[in-house]
């Protein structure tokens, strides 16, 4: 065969011949043992009569559309093996995550590549097939001869996902270990994409992902998920894990999520959290959701009004985790009263000794914690703000509302 590919639909039902060319049975399923090799088909399960036999990959001499020829006849009966990922049972027609295409897809067929190994032929998993071409193959499989199917399918565009970008979904933690399923691919995705994927999954798969994934990634992804789903995910997790994730979230988002939960669950999670984030979140929880206090977050950088550009750079260095989104510095007097706002970019244009006071914007716009949500969005629009400082009754700086908060509010309308 010129083409070294083999589809699972072709493998299924392929005859298996022993050394003398006698038929032993037909292929019923193929299994990968990810702990041994993540791409090689380790066993073929052969049905002969009522019993199923197992053919190891190193017992195979050749594989083609005409059948599988063995080079060793000592076959063992099949007994269920928890370390096996079986194509028919575990993969075909099930959902998996396409980490590169960033979506949940359903497996219709699998493409293998025939490889030479130690004088025999083995199958490597190449692609998972979705889309029309694979559906066509499944529908006519066994109805038309395989070579006809290959010719006919040429007119339909293929749609496949490389095996290394496939993330298998398995809710059972024990089996995840045995099948060596990692979350490496998911952790490498943008949190917003991961959030979209999570929304498409069933509750038990969502739980499995959040239970296992790195807390920081989980926190970022959870912030992007639809509020109803956020709540159900946190409720499904162990309290400790939930607290770990909430700790990693920005305090305003953590407060928003906790506000969605039942009082009891949210108290339990707060109890498990570390002192510092717990305090901040508790305070934010006090505010009404649609007031400035409920919208703001407490992650900001504030300096004394006497500070210089040099001081500001130092302060930024110690708040490195905020750098991705920070765009404004705030100035406060000795009583923590808000006195000015400095756009971050201005720091680059001045010498280290320049006092920040002189870089502050001319008109300081701020809002009290009790201000209504509608009024806040108006302010952002009117003054073209990126960040709006929020002050408490005594004009002390309480938090900051950023443009991305406003976008979320507007999108919800």
């Amino acid at each position: 065969m010129a083409d070294q590919r083999l589809f699972f639909t072709e493998l299924l039902g392929l005859k298996v011949f022993d050394l003398k060319g006698r038929t032993l049975g037909v292929v019923k399923d193929a299994a990968i043992v990810p702990l041994l090799d993540p791409v090689r088909v380790d066993r073929f399960l052969i049905g002969s009569g009522a019993a199923w036999l197992t053919v190891r990959h190193d017992q195979v001499r050749s594989i083609s559309l005409d059948g599988i020829h063995l080079r060793d006849e000592i076959l063992t009966p099949y007994h269920s093996d928890e370390y096996m990922l079986r194509v028919v049972r575990d993969l075909l027609d099930q959902q998996i995550i396409d980490a590169q295409g960033r979506k949940v897809v359903r497996v219709t067929d699998v493409t293998f590549e025939i490889q030479q190994e130690d004088g025999g032929e083995v199958l490597w998993v190449l692609d998972v097939d979705i889309g029309l071409r694979a559906i066509f193959r499944r529908l006519v499989q066994g109805v038309l001869p395989p070579r006809w199917i290959r010719r006919l399918q040429g007119g339909i565009p293929p749609h496949s996902i490389r095996w290394e970008f496939c993330n298998i979904l398995e809710p059972d933690p024990q089996r995840r270990l045995r099948l060596n399923i990692s979350n490496r691919l998911l952790e490498g995705m943008h949190p917003a994409d991961l959030a979209d994927i999570v929304e498409d999954l069933t509750p038990e798969h969502r739980e499995a992902i959040f239970e296992n994934i790195d807390s920081e990634v989980a926190a970022e992804a959870l912030s992007e998920v639809d509020p109803d789903i956020q709540a159900s995910i946190l409720e499904s997790l162990e309290t400790e894990k939930a607290a770990e994730i909430v700790e990693e979230m920005a305090p305003d988002q953590a407060a928003d999520v906790l506000a969605e939960l039942e009082q009891e669950t949210s108290d339990e999670i707060l109890e498990e959290m570390e002192h510092q984030p717990k305090q901040e979140v508790r305070e934010l929880l006090e505010f009404k959701e649609d007031s400035a206090g409920g919208m703001m977050n407490t992650e900001y950088v504030a300096l004394r009004e006497t500070a210089t550009v040099e001081d500001a750079i130092q302060a930024l260095k110690s708040n490195e985790e905020l750098m991705e989104t920070l765009n404004t510095l705030f100035l406060v007097d000795s009583n923590d009263h808000l006195t000015g706002a400095v756009p971050l970019a201005r720091l680059f244009l001045h010498e280290g000794a320049t006092p920040l006071r002189s870089l502050a914007v001319d008109t300081l716009i701020d809002a009290p914690v009790t201000e209504q949500q509608d009024r806040i969005t108006e302010l952002f629009d009117k003054y073209n703000l990126l960040a709006l400082p929020v002050v408490d009754e005594g004009r002390k700086l309480a938090g900051v509302i950023t443009a991305d908060d406003i976008i979320s509010v507007l999108r919800e309308k």
């Binding site: 075909l92 027609d93 099930q94 959902q95 979506k103 897809v105 359903r106 497996v107 219709t108 979705i130 889309g131 029309l132 559906i135 499944r138 529908l139 999954l201 069933t202 509750p203 038990e204 109803d228 789903i229 159900s232």
Partner: protein, 414 residues
């Protein structure tokens, strides 16, 4: 007082979701016709069937919503995962055909109801077709949901027109609980048609998907069950008033066959402009509402079962199958109504036949799925419930088969 009443009804609808929408779409153009015909020809006699129909409806709808809540997956996903691609493909093909027939009858409903208001179908059908397409494709989920909920409340028009007709309430009550069996073929055909229109395959797919979409989980299932049961009861309350209205207005003055649902509205005319107006407006609302839900539900089900990208939040090139099939169903569904001399009756009969062939499979799949421990854990059917479910399914299959036989007979005649 009316205002207050309407306000309360509207508030009540606002807290409801999947069960109510499914139940209301069930009273679509085809359903209204069947009930009107029953009332116009047989008066109050068929009313007794509504209680058993409600029970059958509750049994099937409850199972779907339970599966949705527990597994978090749609019915087509479960059929795909448990029964494979070929079975799914066959079920989906049949579903598209059946639903296409239904979509055509919804557009027919739109055409005939608006013709009562003097609007030509050559204007109303294209405009509504575009509106349906645009509403779902370009509207946001929230705005669409609001429109649907308002639409649900408009079903009240049937209750009001039923009251305005001043039917014989004593008879209505008596025959609601007094079964009347006759070996008259057309009477049996009517009974079968009533069951047939009230339980359709698409509802099972739609309801389960809606429950999943709403994020209802096993924990909130108890509330959801109440909502589903309420929805089923409301469906048949509306059906009751349609039958009563036609019995009071048409049958009481001489039993006759009616041509279509719009014909029934005309029959209400002697009872004042309001009864007539409300009945016609109700028909338009029901047809339009179902014309929005059916194509969308069909494409979602098909795309999910076969693994194509789906969702109105996707762009056209991201989910081509989804959009093409959706557009195709609406355009071709609406276009058929505009072909002069097209044999609509034959087409609806044909769709009823496929409906009857598909329904048993869907129901059997449902019972098999809901009894899988792997999927449902402790939420599988109890033995008693299984007995009830299998009996209901057997009854339903028997009746639908009878409907199929009658439809084929009618098709031969026409």
């Amino acid at each position: 007082m009316w205002k207050r009443f309407r306000y309360q009804i509207a508030m009540f609808f606002a807290v409801l979701g999947p069960g109510l929408i499914t139940a209301n779409v069930d009273n679509d153009a085809g359903g209204i016709f069947t009930y009107s015909q029953a009332g116009a020809k047989w008066g109050y006699l068929p009313l007794w069937t509504l209680i058993p129909i409600t029970l059958l409806l509750i049994v099937t709808q409850e199972m779907c919503s339970r599966m949705g809540a527990v597994t978090g997956k749609g019915l087509s996903d479960l059929i795909r995962e448990e029964f494979g691609l070929r079975t799914t493909f066959l079920v989906m093909t049949a579903l598209v055909l059946v639903n296409y027939g239904n979509i055509v009858s919804e557009f027919a409903g739109i055409a005939s109801s608006l013709e009562l208001f003097g609007i030509s179908r050559y204007l109303s059908v294209p405009v509504c077709g575009v509106a349906v397409w645009y509403l779902v494709v370009k509207g946001t989920y929230r705005s669409v949901e609001k429109i649907f909920l308002v639409s649900c409340s408009i079903y009240v028009t049937y209750i009001i027109s039923g009251i305005l007709v001043k039917p014989d309430w004593k008879q209505a009550v008596v025959y609601s609980v007094k079964p009347v069996l006759m070996l008259e073929p057309s009477y049996i055909a009517m009974l079968v048609a009533m069951v047939g229109t009230s339980i359709a395959p698409w509802m099972q797919f739609y309801l389960q998907a809606a429950v999943v979409e709403k994020g209802i989980t096993a924990k909130e299932y108890v509330q959801s069950r109440v909502e589903v049961i309420l929805g089923c009861i409301l469906t048949d309350v509306v059906a009751f008033f349609i039958i009563v209205a036609c019995a009071g207005a048409i049958w009481a003055h001489g039993p006759r066959d009616i041509k279509d649902a719009a014909d029934a509205a005309v029959g209400l005319k002697p009872f004042g402009q309001y009864a007539y107006f409300l009945f016609s407006a109700g028909l338009f609302n029901a047809s339009f509402f179902a014309a929005c839900i059916l194509p969308l539900s069909t494409v979602y089900t098909v795309c999910e079962g076969l693994g194509f990208e789906s969702g109105v939040d996707k762009r056209f090139h991201e989910a081509p199958v989804f959009y093409w099939l959706y557009t195709f169903l609406i355009v071709v569904g609406a276009a058929v109504i505009l072909i002069p001399g097209f044999d609509l009756v034959k087409m609806i009969l044909l769709s009823q036949v496929i409906n009857g062939v598909l329904l048993p499979f869907v129901l059997i799949f449902m019972i098999l799925l809901i009894n899988k421990k792997k999927l449902m854990h402790e939420w599988t059917n109890s033995r008693f419930y299984n007995f009830v479910a299998w009996t209901s399914v057997a009854l339903m299959i028997g009746l639908t088969m009878a409907l199929v036989a009658l439809s084929i007979q009618d098709m031969m005649k026409t």
